[in-house]
């Protein structure tokens, strides 16, 4: 505990000292949604969100630190001021815009997809009596509840990994989630899982979330993102984490 207090004091001092030349910005991510964001083998946040955030901070001369926050409280804790930016694979929606602001997108709108255990055949036009797994508080959870809630069971989980565990164990029949995430998971599952069904366009692009009052920070991050889009850095990062994506996505535009 003494060490902890010392460490905290040292961190505070370091922040004061660095505050002189670079603005300190705290970034929250979820850390349970690979390859968007996860905790790597070293125990540090990693993934596309972390790479994009780190690069944007570098260009905007911001002193950024990442921290992990559970998905269900990630917006309330931003609004309450426990960190300054959310970078967590979050889609822009009107409902979220009511409580927070978003930067320009760093990932284009992309259809949601379904994921099942290999061999499962589902009639997506008349889905009924099925267990549908979603992550609570996502656009997919809202969509599933609205469209399938009446004749199916919608199970919401705290994070995507938990929903995946239940799919794998046969406790949910199908997961509705972000298409790129599903592509990566299916590729790594060794044939155990399949991507199936129609493409559903339900969300906007993916962007960083900020408090409504932080216009200055929003401007800095937008400028950095624009630069990254133009010189191809962002495309390279996207393709690094989602090898199935084909460029150019933003470059040259």
């Amino acid at each position: 505990m003494n060490k902890l207090i010392l460490a905290a004091a040292a961190a505070a001092l370091a922040m004061l000292a660095s505050g002189a030349n670079a603005q300190a910005v705290r970034i929250a991510t979820e850390g349970a949604y690979a390859p968007w964001n996860f905790l790597d083998e070293a125990g540090k946040p990693a993934g596309l969100d972390v790479d994009v955030g780190t690069e944007a901070c570098k260009r905007a001369a911001l002193d950024c630190t990442f921290q992990v926050n559970a998905w269900d409280s990630i917006i309330p804790n931003l609004v309450a001021g426990n960190y300054d930016v959310i970078i967590a694979g979050m889609s822009v929606t009107d409902e979220r815009k009511a409580s927070i602001d978003f930067t320009d997108e760093y990932f284009p709108p992309d259809p949601a997809r379904y994921m099942v255990r290999a061999g499962t055949v589902l009639d997506f036009d008349n889905l009924s009596g099925k267990n549908i797994g979603v992550q609570g508080g996502t656009i997919h959870a809202a969509y599933a509840t609205e469209h399938f809630g009446a004749s199916n069971t919608v199970k919401s989980f705290d994070n995507a990994d938990q929903a995946l565990a239940d799919l794998n164990a046969g406790n949910v029949d199908v997961i509705l989630a972000d298409g790129n995430y599903i592509t990566e998971v299916v590729a790594g599952s060794g044939g155990a899982l399949e991507k199936v069904g129609p493409e559903l366009v339900i969300g906007g692009g993916v962007a960083m979330g900020l408090r409504k009052a932080d216009d200055e920070l929003e401007g800095k991050l937008n400028a950095a993102l624009a630069e990254m889009k133009k010189d191809g850095t962002l495309d390279a990062l996207i393709i690094k984490w989602f090898p199935d994506k084909v460029g150019p996505i933003y470059a040259g535009g």
Binding site: D72, A169, G170, N171
Partner: protein, 247 residues
């Protein structure tokens, strides 16, 4: 309606249905937990080393670890056997349903706490009474029914009352770990959701606390009445007291 009371009454209305879920979890796990606890208490006192060792170990493990982690562990354990056991047997919809699995884990937990209470009471049954019963030629079951049990339950009842209140409080943890299905939400879910809407922590959490307090008091009331019936023939029997210490 004045400005102070209106939001409180509104919250009380919103939380009535969620409170039923907490109540359901408690009610669904009390009877079986009570029954199993008797066997585990007798098992712990058994002269058979194997039986007493098993019961002792079970009680120690469940009382020595947090219910929160028991929930996590038994959920993922139940999940691990889904494809090999529950699905082929056709009972997966039942076993993995939070409304079943929640009470099952709660029962495992309260069995251990209740068994320890019963065991403690069992140890105080006067040897003379048992010997007298044996001298009358009573069988083991008869001895238990007519001598040991009446003594045990009277002695254990106040502590058991506390355990039931604790068990009710423990239901608040269930939906922090098990998946939430549709609008099956408990008091903690709703208090959290309402808080995230308007950040009024004091209002929403206080009303949720009010529900827990009121139901805890109701438990004391009902169990107190039972206690008076249990001890009505005894001179100067005391009342169940609001003592709340989980034994």
């Amino acid at each position: 309606m004045n400005e102070f009371l209106a939001p409180i009454l509104h919250d009380i209305g919103l939380m009535a249905r969620p409170a039923l879920f907490n109540l359901y979890f408690a009610v669904a796990s009390i009877p079986l937990g009570f029954l199993f606890a008797i066997f585990f208490a007798l098992g712990k006192a058994s002269p058979n080393r194997l039986i007493s060792g098993f019961c002792r170990g079970y009680i120690y493990a469940f009382r020595g670890s947090p219910f929160f982690i028991q929930l996590f562990m038994f959920y993922s354990l139940a999940l691990a056997f889904n494809l090999s056991l529950w699905k082929p047997w056709g009972i997966d919809w039942f076993v993995l349903n939070p409304l079943v699995l929640g009470p099952v884990i709660l029962t495992l937990n309260t069995t251990a706490y209740t068994a320890e209470i019963f065991y403690g009471a069992l140890m105080t049954v006067p040897k003379g009474e048992i010997e007298a019963a044996r001298a009358y030629g009573m069988s083991g079951a008869q001895q238990f029914r007519s001598v040991i049990w009446p003594h045990l339950i009277r002695l254990a009842w106040p502590a058991y009352t506390n355990e039931v209140v604790f068990l009710f409080h423990a239901t608040a943890l269930i939906y922090f770990t098990l998946p939430v299905i549709g609008d099956q939400k408990d008091l903690m879910n709703i208090a959290g959701e309402l808080f995230e809407r308007d950040y009024n922590a004091v209002l929403h959490f206080s009303v949720a606390a009010l529900y827990f307090l009121a139901i805890s008091l109701a438990i004391f009331l009902v169990f107190g009445i039972v206690y008076r019936r249990l001890t009505r023939h005894m001179p100067g029997a005391s009342r169940v007291r609001w003592s709340f210490s989980r034994l």
